[in-house]
């Protein structure tokens, strides 16, 4: 941290200005209110001093010298002139040079109107060009990936895109080739610019050389309306600007901040908005009629749901979902189920996450920004590149550029292995044994154990795969807790899952990180809500088996698609078929809501305002920019209507009002209101509980003993970034990016089975699917990897054991 001794004073255009020692002159000047024009410098990347636009004059013992302010660290007493005649002429010269080969096709360029080259030409450029020769020509635009076009004629060769891909995202697939006047951005032969982060290059390109296919020609910047919001693609909650034109979201851009995404987004964050305007969105309530649905009025649909929920005892009703909703919607659902229906059977997770108390209240809890100062990072959880791409960027930065040691424990090679100091692979099911060995520093894990001795340690723990026991994560956390200056970050992926848990959408939790068994807290909540159901409820899997056995009769799916997200789709199907009544709140007819009796169309991201909570416990605001389509509505208002029809009252007259109620009722959220999140420091979000406020539940992880399973082949089933989820399926730009499904085998296992790369096998668990084999040396021996929820693997789910039969060609 900067203290007073780091302060230096420089003279900037005759003014005395304070700066931090070592800071780059261009940044120091900007902080002091002096803008220095630039193209290649980007505050989140190392400077390269290539465009030369940021030249200033600095006094030296040998007189004034032109220097690039983006490469010059400030020093005490430095005297700088940013606007001398020499500097102004240099700026004008650079712009003239940049423009001599520029096509000036601004009227048809996406960047036109928000283009640094246009702006700086106006501010610092020559009036006209003296270049009479023929300009450089290139084929334009060329497709360099599924999402990005490159127009080389517009490129000013600032290397922002190439540096991003090498320095930040770590997939250096675009590079400069040739030299001099022939330098151009290029991809490698036969290797398109395939990156989960390619959209960032479009955003930081200072001209219209890189454009995003989904946005191309969709709007002009001056017609755009924008609101700040956060991405709900995963629980990192990257800060975004959501931009719309004529009531349609046409673009999402990253917003720079320190706590979460530092300006970057994954392509999924950036392009997921396309599903919002899909023609397949549900726009009217639907009621089952035999094998199909008919459209219904809200009155009829609400009436039917109220009637069926009221017709059975409260405890016969269960609710699954809420992890994609705002805190306000989740709160309304929690209150509705617990105080109107009066049931304890509620779960926002689908047995694909972690223990709710651990996820919600693990202590001591890490913040993302702790990675900036971490000496050591232990990652034992999902492959971040696939499931938490922006967190992957932050961990990668810490390991590749900030000197942190990184230990990755995973059944298969992960996106971070390249920058890891140590990687440990183990067979799924043998996590507990591996942990014991790591904790003791036995054998080949001695060096890994030693690497964990330097603090601060940030431990990122979650479920490496869905076929693994969720309690393993807690056991890992219990070990990590005792490492020097350790903090723990629980990794559960889905959108607002942490907000949903905090609103009590878990069998063991009440709103505000309160255990359902905490009598004092129950009494306090009953004062607000009325009588609460007795006891601890069932989680998702218990709810489903309860439906099959008849212990539960009615299910409310609150924006959940268990057919695709629960590890056991066979169980889900029988449960949905056995249920007496299923009501589904949804955006689309999914595999799950298709089996419901009533489907209620809800508003999507960008169509409602509210608050959300990320994996650090950071509460931020999402904002509305477009209206929901057709008759789709905010979920809380639908719940309010059902409650009224059931003779009760939720008191939900608006999201802001619900938010105030949360701030009053939910202990860990006390005092955190909506209006605090729109301005000043609150824009970066507020980590709950507020400093000094109490958090009733402090969950200290304990190793409760997880059984080791040594079955062969052990199944590793994990999500990939582009899966066959309902939102992705409805994004034209992203839908085609899902990888082809396959079963991955370690070379030795493949040779035992006598299969080769590309052979086909029949994989059976609850269901059977035929898959090609991929030989994968990055996988632990004795394990097979099957990506979760791809079109071809969805029916399998994530079974803990499978049977593999080789399909022989000759059997005709």
């Amino acid at each position: 941290m900067a203290d007073a001794s780091d302060k230096v004073t420089i003279t900037l255009d005759g003014r005395q200005v304070e700066a931090t020692a070592g800071e780059l002159l261009i940044a120091a000047a900007e902080k002091a209110g002096t803008y220095i024009p630039h193209f290649c410098w980007h505050p989140r990347m190392k400077p390269v001093g290539m465009c030369r636009m940021c030249l200033v004059e600095v006094e030296t013992p040998r007189g004034k010298m032109l220097t690039t302010s983006c490469t010059m660290p400030v020093a005490d007493g430095m005297v700088v002139d940013t606007a001398s005649a020499v500097v102004e002429k240099a700026h004008e010269g650079i712009l003239e040079f940049l423009l001599i080969n520029h096509p000036l096709d601004c009227p048809v360029c996406d960047k036109g109107g928000e283009c640094p080259l246009q702006d700086q030409t106006l501010g610092y450029g020559p009036g006209e060009s003296r270049f009479v020769e023929e300009k450089r020509h290139h084929e334009k635009p060329i497709s360099i990936s599924d999402l990005v076009y490159l127009d080389r004629e517009r490129c000013i060769l600032c290397a922002r895109c190439t540096r991003f891909s090498e320095e930040i995202s770590g997939d250096p697939l675009i590079e400069f080739v040739e030299r001099g006047n022939h330098v151009e951005v290029n991809t490698f032969p036969d290797e398109p610019f395939v990156s989960y982060f390619s959209g960032n290059t479009v955003q930081i390109c200072p001209v219209g050389a890189l454009t995003a296919k989904p946005y191309r020609f969709r709007a002009r910047p001056w017609d755009l309306e924008a609101v700040e919001s956060v991405s709900l693609v995963d629980s990192v909650h990257s800060k975004v600007s959501v931009e719309s034109s004529q009531n349609e979201i046409v673009r999402i851009s990253g917003v720079d901040n320190d706590p979460t995404n530092q300006g970057w987004l994954s392509d999924k964050d950036r392009f997921i908005y396309e599903h919002i305007h899909s023609p397949r969105r549900l726009t009217v309530p639907l009621i089952r009629e035999g094998d199909t649905f008919r459209e219904a009025s809200w009155g009829e649909a609400v009436g039917l749901v109220a009637e069926r929920l009221g017709a059975v005892p409260g405890t016969a009703v269960a609710g699954i979902g809420g992890a994609r909703a705002t805190n306000e919607d989740a709160y309304a659902f929690s209150k509705f189920m617990r105080s109107i229906v009066v049931t304890p059977h509620l779960d926002a997770q689908l047995d694909d996450g972690l223990d709710p108390e651990f996820a919600a209240a693990v202590h001591p809890r890490a913040r993302i920004d702790d990675l900036e100062r971490a000496a050591t990072i232990l990652l034992w959880g999902p492959d971040l590149k696939e499931e938490f791409p922006v967190l992957y960027l932050r961990v990668r930065r810490a390991a590749a550029h900030l000197g942190a040691r990184l230990v990755v424990v995973h059944p298969r090679v992960t996106g971070l292995d390249l920058v890891a100091t140590h990687t440990v692979r183990y067979r799924p099911g043998e996590g507990p044994a591996t942990l014991k060995k790591l904790a003791a520093g036995d054998g080949d894990l001695a060096a890994v154990r030693a690497a964990l001795n330097e603090g601060p340690v940030v431990a990122l723990v979650g479920r490496p795969g869905l076929a693994e026991d969720p309690r393993l994560a807690e056991a890992v956390a219990a070990f990590a807790r005792d490492l020097p200056e350790a903090t723990i970050m629980p990794l559960v992926r889905r959108g607002n899952v942490f907000g949903a848990l905090d609103m009590g959408l878990a069998p063991t939790l009440l709103p505000g990180r309160v255990s359902v068994t905490d009598t004092a807290a129950r009494t306090a909540l009953e004062d607000e809500w009325g009588a609460l159901p007795e006891g601890v409820g069932g989680g998702a899997t218990e709810i489903l088996t309860g439906l099959v056995s008849g212990d539960r009769e009615v299910l409310v799916l609150f924006g959940a698609d268990p057919m695709r997200d629960h590890p056991d789709p066979t169980l889900v199907r029988s449960a949905l078929e056995a249920a007496g009544f299923v009501a589904a709140f949804d955006l689309f007819l999914t595999d799950s809501s298709r089996l419901a009796d009533v489907v209620l169309p809800v508003a999507a991201f960008g169509e409602v305002a509210g608050t959300v909570t990320n994996l650090e416990g950071r509460v931020q605001k999402v904002n509305q920019i477009v209206p929901p389509p057709g008759q789709a509505r905010a979920a809380w208002s639908i719940l309010d209507d059902i409650a009224t029809a059931m003779g009760g009252s939720l008191g939900a007259t608006g999201a802001e009002r619900l938010n105030k109620e949360i701030a009053r009722v939910a202990p860990a959220y006390r005092g955190v209101t909506w209006d605090m999140l729109d301005w000043g420091d609150g824009r970066e979000g507020i980590v709950v509980p507020l400093r000094g406020a109490d958090q009733p539940l402090r969950h200290i992880p304990v190793d409760t003993g997880v059984p080791t399973v040594t079955e062969r082949p052990a199944v590793h089933s994990a999500r990939v970034l582009y899966d066959d989820g309902a939102m992705l399926r409805n994004c034209p730009g992203l839908a085609g990016l899902a990888p082809r499904a396959a079963i991955h085998m370690h070379p030795r296992d493949a040779s035992i089975l006598a299969v080769r790369d590309g052979d086909r096998v029949l994989v059976s668990a609850g269901a059977s699917v035929e898959l090609p084999v991929v030989i994968d040396a990055g996988l632990a021996e004795g394990a097979v990897y099957v990506p979760f929820n791809l079109v071809e693997t969805a029916a399998l789910g994530a079974p803990r054991s499978i049977r593999i039969d080789v399909v022989r060609e000759d059997a005709s």
Binding site: P47, G49, R52, L55, K89, F97, N101, E133, I156, G180
Partner: protein
């Protein structure tokens, strides 16, 4: 008084000066034995410093001073010998590499001992396969004879040398582009600071010296720095290699003591101009140097400082002579075209500006010049090298961009009437 150091052996033994046998037979590796047996590393550095030798790669930076920039406490350190020699008209390192490679190898070993370096690199121009082969042979022989490897001559000092061939880019002669190239990256100059002495190869402290500079080290150590400093004028000590080319009767490489006049160099050593034609102009130090003309510079002494004071440089020691038949616009165009072709393309003014300059000159040469081109040429030059001063100011990262300015300011200063004449004859012609 010594007047030749580097070329004595190759002249005396034209057939086999490159072999270890001849090298040893003519006193080779004796300086190394002395250094390892009776000198400390600091003694070696002190002798080099006392010699006052200035770098022969172009900039003329005092070698002893550069060596002193290495941070005390950082290891490993590297020594990189720059044999990329690609400037048009420069071919002096070539014969040192090809004809006396052991002299260089011994220089590397002694220098490395002085600098506490245990891995040295020789970066050789890609189009120099034979010189590279000879150097590699010499290194192999030196290993076999115990002059390289571990525990050299029982001294406890160890050194390895790696030879690396360039890929055909002039810019890789610039020391930081060279380091990038050695590391397997694009040959693009780095932003300085940090200078290589602080963060060079693989971000470690690195000394980069020219082939000729290092080839002088055995003599300096054998005869003492003071003896070297006593040769030639005070601030241009020692002998120096010159590559003489163009319109002279006796082109070639010459090792001379600095201090003679240009008249003596061109007419004496170079044997004058063929056909006794009149001397029109010459480039005193490689393609990037501003040109000299007989009226002003024939009696200027050939020293680093005298040439510098007259607005040019001795640079890489390439002297290109042009007689009265030369079309100076065509000559300037050719040189500018070279720099435009060799620009690494990193920085805007060099990438765009040098090509633009080349195309304006091409137009003028091809009958499509415009009167406004005269001001335009100078103004574009000014946007690459503000103020058109000497030594040049730059809007660029490295001096390559401003190098393309030198021929243009030279012809505009000394032969403006010839440029104007070409434009006049082309008036009315359309723009190509």
């Amino acid at each position: 008084m010594t007047d030749r150091i580097l070329t004595v052996r190759m002249e005396a033994h034209p057939q086999d000066s490159h072999t270890l046998a001849t090298y040893e037979a003519t006193g080779g590796y004796r300086a190394l034995r002395t250094a390892l047996s009776s000198m400390t590393p600091d003694d070696v550095k002190a002798q080099v410093k006392a010699s006052n030798i200035r770098g022969r790669g172009g900039a003329g930076f005092p070698t002893g001073v550069k060596w002193g920039f290495l941070p005390e406490d950082l290891r490993p350190r590297y020594l990189v010998v720059n044999g990329d020699e690609s400037e048009p008209g420069t071919f002096k390192d070539r014969i040192l590499l090809e004809r006396d490679p052991h002299q260089l190898v011994e220089g590397i070993i002694i220098s490395s001992y002085g600098l506490d370096v245990h891995h040295a690199f020789v970066y050789i121009r890609g189009e120099y396969p034979k010189p590279a082969r000879r150097v590699q042979q010499a290194i192999d022989e030196a290993y076999a004879a115990g002059y390289l490897g571990s525990d050299i001559l029982g001294s406890g000092f160890s050194l390895d040398i790696t030879v690396h061939l360039g890929g055909g880019a002039y810019i890789c002669g610039e020391e930081t582009a060279l380091l990038n190239s050695l590391e397997g990256r694009r040959g693009e100059p780095r932003i300085k600071p940090p200078f290589p002495a602080v963060a060079g190869l693989y971000a470690k402290p690195t000394i980069v010296n020219n082939v000729e500079t290092i080839s002088n080290v055995p003599w300096i150590v054998a005869n003492g720095g003071a003896a070297y400093a006593a040769i030639g004028p005070e601030r241009s000590a020692g002998t120096r290699m010159f590559s003489l080319s163009g319109h002279v009767n006796r082109p070639g490489d010459y090792e001379i003591v600095m201090g003679m006049t240009w008249r003596e160099l061109i007419y004496g050593i170079g044997g004058g101009i063929p056909g006794d034609r009149a001397l029109k102009t010459w480039i005193p130090g490689g393609a990037s140097a501003p040109w000299f003309v007989p009226d002003e510079h024939l009696d200027t002494p050939v020293t680093i400082d005298d040439v510098g004071a007259n607005g040019s440089m001795l640079g890489s020691g390439a002297v290109i002579v042009m007689d009265e038949t030369t079309d100076v616009v065509a000559a300037a165009h050719r040189i500018v075209k070279f720099f435009a072709h060799e620009s690494c393309g990193q920085c805007t003014p060099c990438r765009e500006g040098t090509t633009w300059l080349e195309r304006i000159l091409w137009r003028i040469l091809n009958g499509a010049g415009r009167p406004s081109d005269l001001d335009l040429l100078l103004d574009v030059c000014d946007n690459i090298s503000p103020g058109l001063r000497w030594p040049p100011a730059m809007t660029t990262i490295c001096p390559l961009g401003p190098s393309a300015v030198s021929p243009i300011t030279s012809i505009m200063r000394h032969f403006r009437d010839e440029v104007e004449a070409k434009i006049r004859t082309s008036e009315g012609a359309s723009v190509g």
